[in-house]
Subunit: 385 residues, 2 copies
């Protein structure tokens, strides 16, 4: 078991009717900037619930934060937050709205060019406006961590930053808010949570039993309740389990004492930045290929995964590993995410641009051993043609 | 899945050499009260490591905090903390030292009689001196929660309080500090963690898959690594897994969305207060009896426990449940804790005093349904003669 530091000060209010807790969390004298996306919250009643809870507060609205939130959009929000002297940000939406709001929270009190925040991966952030969240799409885990991913549309750069200052003060998770989500978003969220989990699990064994078994717990739950959530959108427990899984998958608990391999997310970000694929689509393409490419290095954990997650006890080790990878791909397909570049109209000709972006972004030593260079990333993508 | 609120702001530094992190956590100008127990930390090198990390700080020592920390001892520490104008408390030890230090932290800035803190279950606590911990005995989970149990020796009252103000700011968990523990303490710690886990698991099903599976993860790990830790005291991974299990078992994660049944701890506290049994001994006695007494109410979760923790798939439901209870008792015995009152020289004649104490302490509606009155507690104890 490896050394680790764990810290997560976000307060979670989970369940039915919890949106009303906003008024317990945000100081009465706060000037609140309400941030949200394309307006679906106005159709499903979430906006009304939030505004009810915000009665008595001075509220400034900023909407239109898009999927893979654009730097170009967020700087407008920063300008508004500064002009209005906002003292609290309330993000209502999924991971993109929350990630974008983290950037707004930090950028609004940063004196220099806010792009510095991305370029320093967050190191220049010394303060932020306090942030609360109402999560409406379980997927990214952003509601309970200090990370954020922002895309500069003009240059197709999708990049992340981290700062303890943008840890949400609180997040409200009411599974009912997800009932009206399009199937594609629920499916993508399940795949994102699944891949977050395996990226902290399928590396090499260090005998850290708690995070290993927690990973298996989350994976089994996604495999069971992901399809249920698609079939039966108002099944509360399925939505609730998926929602709590998605938060637990990236709140730091899973990496307590184990190595991690974020190569899939990093390569996936370049695919989204360049070719506008959904985040989950990129993950479904890349991770089976990473496992095939790194089968020997990841052998022991792939066998554990085969046995404990898919109950595969028959056949040779090679057969069990291959079958576990196949079953993973089948699950992604079942959740609407094909696992080949060709399914999205991409091919071998599109790989060099990904490699160039990885070099540009300094992402040249990926994986738990730091041995996935842009060259290996190209080899990996060739396994997913 | 039930509604819940989760909040845990303690920073954990886990692993080898982490005691040095004390100086990153405690402000340089702090006046530190170092609290500890009977002095084992002076024999095993932990005291020296702590004092190394505290170089440059003004330090006041308070030692002699006993197992089941006595109110009578702790008020002396409060007097010292007030006299010395202490600004930070560093607890070095197991759950008793940490629980006692939480009381000191709250009592040192409380104007009234510090017994009020217990009598109001912590409701009167409005502030506390910041607390850091170096855990040397994995068991109670106190290092990452806001609860504390204190015993008034003069009246044999063992009672608890909770306050967000006594949540440790940080806790350092170096599994190597546990190498020199007596076997009995490691065994007791494993039983305590096991029982914390099942008290949040064996109730009734609410389809909350994450906490259920996490509970099973912790139980399987204790069953595997508890005996290893006893056999092979310097097996780092076994000690590390037990240490992280004990923290995870009572840091709030397990109760996210599920009912809980603390009857065993409450009845056990009275047994310790009255008859001076080890805390873990009382748990080993009470919980199998609670399950036997509440077999119908807990039927579905006991079956799940039988299947997922002990892999019992054969026989009738009744047989599987009985075998799971039997295997639990066997594990407690293996860990040196007999599961019958008679093994500790107690009998039916000693039960009424327990019932009287429960009444005195207002603990008259225990269990996940609030239907374990002192009368039922007596019936439960009769199943453990």
């Amino acid at each position: 078991m490896n050394n680790f530091t764990f810290f997560n000060p976000t307060r979670i209010h989970f369940g039915k009717g919890q949106i009303a807790k906003i008024k317990e969390e945000i100081p009465a004298n706060a000037k609140v900037m309400l941030t949200y996306g394309g307006g679906s919250i106005k159709k499903n009643g979430v906006y009304d619930q939030v505004m009810d809870a915000l009665q008595g507060y001075e509220v400034v609205e900023f909407n239109g934060i898009e999927p893979n939130p654009h730097y170009e959009t967020l700087v407008k929000a920063i300008a508004l937050a500064k002009k209005e002297s906002v003292t609290y940000i309330l993000a209502v939406g999924g991971g993109s709205v929350i990630d974008g709001s983290k950037f707004i929270a930090a950028g609004s009190v940063y004196d220099g060019d806010s792009w510095d925040i991305i370029q320093t991966s967050g190191a220049c952030v010394e303060a932020a406006i306090p942030l609360g969240c109402v999560l409406t799409l379980p997927a990214t885990g952003s509601e309970m961590n200090c990370g954020s991913v922002v895309t500069k549309a003009s240059t197709k750069d999708k990049l992340s930053f981290k700062s303890a200052h943008v840890h949400p003060v609180f997040s409200i998770l009411d599974p009912q808010t997800t009932y009206t989500l399009p199937k594609r978003q629920i499916a993508n969220g399940a795949v994102d949570s699944f891949v977050h989990t395996v990226e902290q699990y399928i590396t090499y064994p260090v005998n850290a039993k708690v995070p290993d078994r927690l990973a298996e717990s989350l994976l089994l739950t996604i495999l069971e309740d992901g399809p249920v959530a698609l079939e039966d959108p108002t099944n509360y427990d399925a939505r609730a389990n998926l929602m709590w899984v998605s938060t637990m998958a990236l709140n730091g608990t899973l990496k307590t004492g184990v190595p991690t391999d974020w190569a899939t997310h990093m390569i996936g970000h370049e695919l989204t930045g360049l070719y506008n694929l959904d985040h989950a689509q990129t993950l479904a393409i890349v991770i089976p290929a990473v496992w095939k490419f790194k089968k020997q290095q990841k052998r022991e954990k792939l066998l554990q995964y085969a046995e404990r997650v898919f109950a595969l006890h028959q056949g040779s080790e090679e057969e069990r590993i291959d079958l576990a990878i196949q079953k993973t791909e089948e699950f992604f397909v079942l959740m609407g995410n094909p696992t080949r570049l060709s399914a999205y109209g991409l091919g071998e000709k599109d790989i060099p641009a990904v490699q160039e972006k990885l070099i540009l972004h300094g992402l040249v030593k990926l994986g738990e051993h730091g041995d996935i260079t842009p060259k290996e990333a190209g080899e990996i993508l060739k396994l997913a043609l």
